[in-house]
Amino acid sequence: MDTNGVVSFDVSPEDSHEVHVLAVDDSLVDRKVIERLLKISACKVTAVDSGIRALQFLGLDEQRRASESDSFVPSLKVDLIITDYCMPEMTGYELLKKIKESTTFREIPVVIMSSENILPRIDRCLEEGAEDFIVKPVKLSDVKRLKGYMTPREVRERSQERTSVEGSGGGVEINNKRKLEEQEISDVSSSPPSISTLSSSPSDSSPSPSPSSSPTSSPSVLASPIRRLKMSSSTTD
């Protein structure tokens, strides 16, 4: 257990089948929990305590120029970034923006966590390109859902072996942002047909029941209930 450092990371040699997640949270308690949640879900984890350290890890910090960043390769390829929203100095939103502005890293899915279920905040993050938004406290079911966003082929094949789907199939997309459903989104349930066709169509070699999206971003865009809501109904309030 890493008690005095602010970074904990796995030093095992890179295994192309294992997903590597960069977790960013200023709370030590939350870092420990998210780390364990990810490890128990067969992910490699690097946990840092700030957006600045996250950028340093990726090689996107201010000391490097853009041209240097393009040739910089972090020691472990990052498949997903999960970050807390409320952090001192640099918020998760600001970190998200920096990542999406980078040509090297903008393809990495970014998930935002927050203890507050604030709709405008969620919207802003999704519009900036966040893959998903999790309301804390984070649970195992949230992490299982996240695995669907990551390295497509390996994860799809592996989740086919592991029966970790738990009856989610096409229904997982509907469960995105579960806390929001409790609030107001009642017409999400009217959209399932489009979701299930999306999740079943992209599978080429692996007929996996996993809801993971294909390498292109469009399935996950449509899969997001927020986006569906915006496209289907013109008004919420």
Binding site: M1, S27, V29, D30, R36, S115, K136
Partner: protein
Amino acid sequence: MLGFGADLLWADMNRLLAFLFHQGVLDEQFLQLQQLQDEASPNFVSEVLNIYFHESEKLLTNLRGLLMERDYKKMGVHLNQFMGSSSSIGAKRVTNVCVAFRAATLQTNRAGCLRALEMLEHEYCYLKNKLHQLFQIEQQRALVAGVRYPVQNQNQ
């Protein structure tokens, strides 16, 4: 006989847990923490809780000082932190008091803040005591269950 003791302790532990859930002291996030403990990480829950206790005590001390200084904004920041970590371990009542406390800081309601701080200290102490009790029972149970096997072998 010792095996019987372990079972009694197991029942005690579950009774205490059920009580804490019923009282709203803990919520299902605590169960989630327990699910994260396994052979690979056998002390996960106590490790996380020790970090939580350590951080919380610092936060409470700071909150008292900030209240004296009437720094409501900083109190809000501390409360966000306290709220976050409390909800991450499933400390429902503590989290709820933090929410009310934060509302009082937004209103710069000094009397309300003082009341909330006292309630927060009370709830936190109660939680800590109960969780320590839980750990004690668990440790006793592990001890008793561990001793059982050599004694059984001797009797054969």
